[in-house]
Symmetry: C2
Subunit: 511 residues, 2 copies
């Protein structure tokens, strides 16, 4: 009964972490303005309760007993895997003082409000003191956790276990060597026409089409819902309740469409974790204190980017769905054919805002953020010097001048909410998506179905190889099992090179 | 620091109880169908955590120390009041096994689904086993809590402290003696015209008008929101976030209007509790494990019924707002004058469904439920015999035959969610509303403003005398302080008698 008792305790921790996520969702989607002050305290209390349950004496006793009870089982068995994950989380959280966690959670809740005002006024100075506190709390947490080479490694651990400042340098150097020349080459070419994406698209029609496309890729509305928020996101409260949001720009239709595909891609991950793992360590990030089935933030992002970009921007997808989008927007797309539409949604050019960046330049936005975070955490860059450093990086990577901090260093919510060390996940997601997509398409049935616009076999392959396993295997274990290799940027680079050569090839004129 | 530490602990319990309420609101308003199974576990876990925080050794130590620290303060001081409430809750919860609480919460979550299906099919038998379990758990809880005269007293305590089976018998006898003859007398009279309330009223217009009327009586949308649900309710997550719902029937407009006024009345209570009491025992029902500022369910109901009925159905209110409702529904009300409208919304006749009952017959629905609950809890009535007992009571009190169980014993959600002992609150609310309203109108400025359709002075009086105090004083202490008497049905009976004599008086013909 010790193992069963341990699982019941983990189930209750999962309940508390799901409650945390529900309060967070509510704060972002439903809460009236007056509620924010006390909501921050509620979130902090739940986080500290979850942590205290992990490090409690009861938990340690149950864990010791469960280890003894499962010692005879095969290595790699579900039971031993679950117990090992609890052991790791107990060790991790024993090192982090509860007071630090409470401070971080409360500051993260208040910080988002301060940041939102600062961004609205493009006033970095009003946000700087909060950011300084946040960096300091994160440095203290890094010291508490401990690290071998760099404090940034300790912070990244809860988002992308296995990656380090050093490993990212290797990965990013390869990506930059491929992407920057592609971006420069495209800069010389004529851009395809995309004016029709900026016509007036009524919100109700956009919402309807976003729902349709989420269903098309397999997102289950019986266990989910789609709402509107300023910043789109996905969050789950067990696989039974997986919610997504998108946002609408009346005169930029792709925002809602690709926002919905992206978040529905995240949603597919959670909705397809093995139901037997519900409320267990394989569907609970006990280290990150987050009730999630995806095994790392990068692995999660691989699913959202795969459905948004590899599928959602592919000619095959639109060969199937272009009639539907033209039916949804008959006036707006009346002078547009399928080929022009696909070129328009794949247009690439350097821009200032990460969340609006195209597929090719997106990783440059990520890499500059990781550079900066690393320097902030190690102390070689001061918060007050951040805008200058930011603007210099944008110039270096994208060749652009930043007109104001709202369009620059103040654009992202992450730091204000207390998250440092999580930007790399986006690029790791892109790389992993490229790797998975290339491998899946080696299966003839998947490739030929995809060519006919049918991605159900692809989804089945992803469920089989990635989604169903939840947190049982590490990200690289999943990659090795499914593709034969750990994280490897070669397929992603090949994909970008081929795709953009096709769109901007020597024969391609603007149309 | 012990007193401050105790308050911080209570603040965290308040956070957990608010999280519980948010999960409950979400389950009723937002959750996709798939989410219900795991949501029940999440709710149960939070309830048990809150209880375990109350009975923890830490809490007992803090409480002992806080009692010593505040012993020198005046009796009746805020500090001693808060400490005393914590002491009481520790004693109460020490008697209830956590396992019983978990079972009740989980069964309450699942039970609502079973009940909803049973009601949809008018199939009492499919709900009976769940109800049997629920009665049994409640009996066990009553035994654990302990009681002097009747197990029902123990169950009512968390909803309406001070009331007992015996005290309700006295109260109800007085009410029945007054109400039943009034109902019979009206049965002989001609009914006023009310057909125009059943015309087609578009939902969007109903929603807009419901929001306007909630604002008119003072509900603050900056700290609230109004949604649509099958069963209207109010719930708060501190005074900063107080939410209400209503429901719409296209061909019965009063449902949304009076539903909104009723729930906004509840909302006013929570929104006007002294902000200094936020996260303290004076805004946390530590006995009932409910983050609420209102001092009893009956006191809460006094506010909703006061605004719904005494104000919202009064000629004075419509002297002010009839032009607005006619502007909202120009077609539907074009052949209706103010006097006819007021008579129509005050029409009384026996009916089967409690939540659709008029003001005069409403208490009869309550009293029969209390009779039945009392018998269920003492064991003199078996669950299997419930429909028969129900139908007999409806015949006795209202003179009606019940055509099926959906219109009878299956109509209310309460029992399925685990609540037994809470129906009396509605009638106590009516009685208390009558008492407060009569007293407030003895102040000339309040009466003359009300006659001009201005109820702001009334709201100020209620805030001063009732709302701001939160849970500092008991219900009867509040009544004695504000009206000079504990709960007393005389003003309510006088109000009903006068009102219905006016509407159905000897000179009144139907129009």
């Amino acid at each position: 009964m010790s193992y069963a008792g341990l699982l019941e305790t983990v189930g209750r921790i999962n309940d508390v972490l799901n409650a945390y996520s529900i309060l967070n969702w509510d704060a972002r989607v439903m809460m009236p303005p007056g509620g924010s002050e006390t909501r921050g305290k509620q979130l902090a209390t739940l986080a500290v309760i979850a942590q205290s349950m992990i490090v409690s004496d009861d938990m340690r006793r149950q864990l010791d007993a469960a280890e003894r009870e499962t010692a005879g089982l095969a290595e790699g068995s579900v039971e031993r895997g679950m117990v090992a994950q609890v052991r790791e989380a107990v060790g991790y959280h024993s090192r982090i003082p509860a007071e630090l966690l409470r401070q971080k959670t409360e500051l993260g809740s208040v910080g988002q409000e301060i940041w939102a005002t600062a961004r609205a006024n493009s006033d970095f100075k009003s946000f700087a003191p909060t950011l300084e506190k946040m960096v300091e709390i994160n440095r203290q947490i890094a010291e508490a956790i401990g690290y071998k080479a760099h404090p940034y490694d300790a912070l990244m651990y809860r988002f992308e276990p296995g990656e380090t400042a050093a490993s990212l340098t290797v990965l990013f150097d390869k990506l930059k060597a491929a992407i920057i020349p592609l971006v420069r080459a495209i800069g010389q070419k004529q851009q395809p026409r995309a004016d029709f994406l900026e016509r007036s698209y009524p919100e109700a029609a956009q919402l309807g089409f976003a729902v349709d496309m989420a269903k098309v890729i397999g997102y289950d509305f019986n266990r989910g819902r789609l709402d509107t928020t300023v910043h789109p996101f996905e969050v789950s409260f067990t696989r039974n309740d997986v919610r997504i949001t998108t946002r609408f720009n009346k005169s930029h239709m792709p925002m809602s469409l690709f926002g919905a595909l992206h978040e529905a891609g995240h949603g597919l991950y959670e909705q397809n974790v093995d139901p037997a793992y519900t409320r267990t360590p394989f569907a609970t990030d006990l280290v990150g204190l987050y009730a999630v089935g995806g095994v790392s933030f990068g692995a999660h992002e691989s699913q959202s980017r795969l459905w948004e970009n590899h599928v959602g921007r592919s000619p095959e997808f639109w060969a199937q769905h272009f009639p539907a989008i033209r039916a949804a927007y008959p006036e707006q797309l009346k002078d547009v054919d399928e080929a022009a539409f696909v070129r328009a949604i794949n247009r690439s050019r350097p821009s200032l805002i990460r969340v609006e960046a195209d597929e090719l330049t997106y990783d440059l936005h990520i890499m500059l953020r990781v550079d900066i975070e690393r320097q902030l955490v190690e102390g070689s860059l001061k918060v007050k010097d951040l805008p200058e450093a930011w603007n210099a990086k944008i110039k270096e990577y994208l060749g652009l001048d930043v007109p104001n901090d709202a369009m620059g260093v103040l654009q992202d919510v992450h730091w204000s909410s207390g998250q440092i060390g999580t930007f790399c996940n986006y690029t790791i997601g892109n790389v992993m998506a490229g790797q998975l997509y290339a491998k899946a398409r080696e299966t003839p049935a998947i490739a030929s179905a995809a060519k006919a616009g049918n991605f159900a076999p692809l989804r089945a392959w992803l469920t089989e190889n990635i989604l169903q396993h939840g947190r049982r295997y590490t990200r690289d274990e999943l990659l090795v099992r499914s593709t034969g290799r750990a994280l490897d940027p070669a397929p992603y680079i090949a994909y970008l090179t081929s795709k953009y050569s096709e769109i901007y090839g020597p024969d391609r004129k603007g149309n």
